[in-house]
């Protein structure tokens, strides 16, 4: 996939991309180390919270309720941000958002613009759109500097450069950054080189772009959670700040932050709290940017909202806990998903943002339905259930042509059963008693009854897509 194309247009089906990823042993080692480390840390900081499940329930309830009245909350947000001195823009899709941001910057004759890592801007391919207008976006997160200067794509929501080791990073920096003749591959040294390069930029470039972790409708406050301080630099030094947020990022009240300030850091970087959280409302005399723009982006989100069984997808606070726990992700890495959003969340979000038929149709099959992603999700998105729902949709979309295809039949049946708890319970019971295979044909003859319970479901998955099965069988070679 080219670096500058929008980050949700999937060009290759998952199995093919995954096969390539599996051949890259360095990538596998790095991803394995990353996911294992974060997984263990996360477990510890979650275990010390006696009310973790209550927090998850609250996170879910707030998100669900917000989404069910999204129009109201967005209008309230627009009013409060405007009252605080900001300007609110609405963008139907990525192209419109990119054009707006480009217009604002062009109006200031900007040649460069600072950026805080943002999945949303990656999703819409903002960097490429700005470059095309002669405005150079400067990524300021260390990992994004590594990715951008390495002319590369991110491989993890949280640690985008996890596929690069220190020797590779040294090579990239020596090639791309000033004053790096004597650079060693010590992480301290590498970080210092980035600090020197970026400090100069922070002090001289008066424009910045950010995403948003949350925006509070009641107060017009936008919140950014980060570790390095590049976010604070971009939010406080420039004269003009543009924040782009998906419409699902709004929360109704400031008090709701008490849940997310606990859920996000522990689920994400596995810390009790990440080093810096910034909250600001509009503009303020003598403090921070003089001009603040908030872009509210739809780009397919209202379609996700319309599909009731998949609506919870929009609860996602992009913590990446589901990536770190996922056995499929651990082996393939993020780039195999071909999208800004990898791992389990990507497997449900990306296909909903790519109109079928598309290579993204293979993503809902990139899972063993083990359920671990649901257990760690701080906002309780039932990813396995949504995966099955989407598989059913993919199969249905294939239409009459494949009506007699055993795979299609199984998937459609599975989807129906999974979507109906009563049917699922019944089927589970029946299978447990008799191991009754309810469909037999060429595609699945080696398998036991497809409804023989959760563990059997894991083995079942490969039949969904022959090529995925091949991949699955080949995974240990």
């Amino acid at each position: 996939m080219s670096v500058d194309s929008p980050g949700i247009i999937v060009e290759r089906a998952f199995p093919a991309a995954a096969r390539d990823a599996l051949r890259d042993s360095q990538l596998r080692r790095n991803i394995g180390k990353a996911t294992n480390t974060i997984r263990a840390k996360r477990k510890a900081v979650v275990a010390e919270m006696p009310d973790w499940q209550d927090l998850r329930d609250a996170g879910y309830a707030i998100k669900r309720d917000t989404l069910r009245h999204l129009d109201r909350h967005l209008l309230a947000l627009e009013a409060s941000v405007t009252a605080a001195g900001g300007t609110v823009h609405w963008a139907r899709d990525g192209e419109e958002a990119n054009r707006m941001v480009g217009d604002i910057l062009a109006g200031h004759q900007a040649k460069e613009v600072l950026k805080i890592k943002s999945l949303t801007t990656d999703e819409i391919g903002l960097n490429g759109a700005l470059s095309a207008r002669g405005i150079e976006p400067i990524e300021t997160d260390l990992a994004e500097v590594i990715v951008q200067k390495g002319h590369d794509r991110s491989s993890h929501i949280l640690v985008p450069a996890i596929h690069r080791n220190r020797a590779e990073i040294r090579e990239i920096f020596k090639r791309e950054l000033p004053d790096t003749e004597h650079l060693t591959d010590e992480p301290r040294d590498l970080a210092d080189a980035a600090r020197r390069y970026l400090r100069q930029k922070f002090l001289t470039v008066p424009y910045a772009i950010s995403g948003a972790n949350f925006a509070v409708a009641e107060t017009g406050s936008v919140a950014i959670f980060e570790s390095e301080g590049n976010g604070r630099m971009c939010l406080t030094l420039p004269r003009v700040l543009i924040s782009i947020m998906g419409i699902e990022k709004v929360i109704p009240r400031w008090a709701d932050m008490s849940a997310f300030l606990q859920l996000l850091p522990r689920s994400s970087t596995a810390e009790r709290m990440n080093p810096y959280n910034s909250v600001w409302s509009g503009t303020r005399a003598g403090e921070g940017p003089e001009e603040f723009h908030l872009v509210l982006l739809d780009n397919g989100r209202s379609d996700v909202l319309a599909d009731e069984p998949a609506r919870d997808t929009l609860n996602c606070i992009r913590c990446s806990a589901c990536l770190n726990i996922c056995p499929v992700y651990e082996r393939t890495g993020g780039r195999a998903y071909g999208s800004t959003y990898p791992g389990p969340i990507g497997a449900i979000l990306t296909p909903q943002m790519n109109a079928p038929p598309s290579p993204a149709d293979s993503l809902p099959f990139a899972s063993s339905l083990c359920g671990a992603c649901y257990e760690v999700c701080p906002v309780k998105i039932d990813i396995p259930r949504i995966l099955v729902h989407l598989r059913g949709k993919v199969v249905a979309a294939r239409g009459a042509k494949t009506a007699l295809d055993g795979e299609a039949l199984v998937m459609a049946a599975m989807a129906r059963v999974f979507e109906n708890p009563r049917l699922y319970a019944l089927a589970h019971k029946a299978a447990a008693i008799g191991q009754v295979p309810f469909i037999r044909d060429g595609a699945i003859k080696s398998l036991p009854g497809p409804l023989a319970g959760w563990t059997a479901m894991r083995d079942l998955t490969p039949i969904a897509k022959q090529s995925f099965r091949e991949w699955w069988k080949a995974r240990d070679r």
Binding site: W90, L142, T236, L237, I247, L261, S278, D303, A306
Partner: protein, 221 residues
């Protein structure tokens, strides 16, 4: 032509036709709202958690605090320090080149060896300082550009849990003030997951708790 706003709101309303007009909001939260620990336990917890982020934490009475701060700052070899314009006079340490922020430019702030501030409150459970950039706390960039930040925290402003701090900050947020939550020095784990302190923000964070109840607390690190 329909505006983007109308189109998006229209799509959203169309998508939500299944949602009843009058629907009850979420149930009351069950997660902890108040810590049950006594205040001295909270101070200990804050100290332990902040130290977990490699923050140096000390306790001193208010009268003793400037001298204590002076010793810490001198040890670190700092000379020029930035202060918010309204930094409390009685907390300013002697023997340093103190620069009050009456609108200093970025380069001047960045050229300071360190910065001294107070904070609005702190959270024991997470070892977090919360600044609402009110009196004694300065503009946001003041605590960002210098490489060293020493923060005075009133013992009484150390709260137990995150929800207590969120509640305490409600009036500030409602008044349009920005907030900065600080949990340890700036850090990254982007290179092979090795933690490196101080990528952009201050590499060193020191907290002096102003506590009349511990006049004889010995200096600890």
């Amino acid at each position: 032509m329909t505006s983007a706003k109308d189109t998006i709101l229209g799509r959203i309303r169309q998508a939500l036709v299944d949602v009843p007009e009058t629907e009850a909001g979420p149930e009351a939260w069950r997660f902890r709202q108040r810590s049950t620990e006594d205040h001295s336990a909270l101070l200990d917890r804050f100290t332990e958690r902040a130290r977990g982020y490699k923050v140096r934490v000390e306790r001193a009475t208010r009268a003793e605090a400037p001298a204590r701060a002076a010793r810490i700052l001198a040890e670190a070899g700092l000379v020029r320090l930035a202060l918010p314009a309204d930094f409390p006079v009685d907390l300013a340490p002697e023997g340093f080149d103190l620069l009050r922020d009456d609108g200093l430019d970025n380069a001047t702030i960045a050229a300071c060896d360190g910065v001294l501030t107070t904070c609005a409150c702190a959270i024991a459970e997470t070892g977090t300082l919360v600044l609402d950039h009110g009196v004694g706390q300065g503009r946001r960039k003041l605590t960002l550009l210098p490489d060293y930040h020493l923060c005075f925290v009133e013992a009484s402003a150390i709260l137990g849990l995150v929800p207590e701090a969120v509640e305490r900050m409600q009036p500030s947020v409602a008044a349009g003030r920005p907030l900065t939550f600080i949990s340890g020095p700036s850090a990254t784990s982007d290179i092979e997951l090795n933690r490196v302190e101080g990528v952009h923000g201050p590499r060193t964070l020191v907290v002096v708790i102003l506590d009349e109840a511990f006049p004889n607390e010995t200096e600890t690190h």
